[in-house]
Symmetry: C2
Subunit: 113 residues, 2 copies
Amino acid sequence: MKVENTEAQMRKGILELCVLSITSREAVYPSDILSQLKMAKLIVVEGTIYPLLNRLKKAELLEYNWVESESGPPRKYYKTTSEGNKILNHLQEHWNNLQKSVQQIVDTTAATH
Amino acid sequence: MKVENTEAQMRKGILELCVLSITSREAVYPSDILSQLKMAKLIVVEGTIYPLLNRLKKAELLEYNWVESESGPPRKYYKTTSEGNKILNHLQEHWNNLQKSVQQIVDTTAATH
């Protein structure tokens, strides 16, 4: 059992929450999403973000528009759909509950050390 | 894509952290671990906890002793090994960093709404 696998599992679930959150604000294109994840110290590579965006699009939690670019080909701008916003709220609540659960367990442990 | 899957992924990674944390305090038997997880509102069934304990034991992050019981057969009491405590510290740090990352993204989103 590798600690890296456990850490990867922890991260996997929250990436969807983070992407839905970023695109709920305004339409953004993938490089922008990547920069925002990186700014928050979530290291995500392009090979991870594109399949995730496709999955969220297919589930109709994200939609995109093509936007013309002055410096190159048109770009896909992604935005959270209203269904996606509902899911985002659920995930956020679930995340908050998980944080409380872990905190409770870790606090109990620390208190008896 | 089901929101339940994403939520399950979020939980999966933290269960190892929680179990290692619970057994780092004192030797406990599986039903006790389950009760403590339940008290922290992490719903875990027996079918989940036993394979997890075996995996952590096999990775030498947990060890157990047989303890006689007055009311039935002897029980396995699990305890985090010193290697397990190292991993626990890593996982806890990783968890703290993840919380900060998600918070940063969610805050940015909220601020511009």
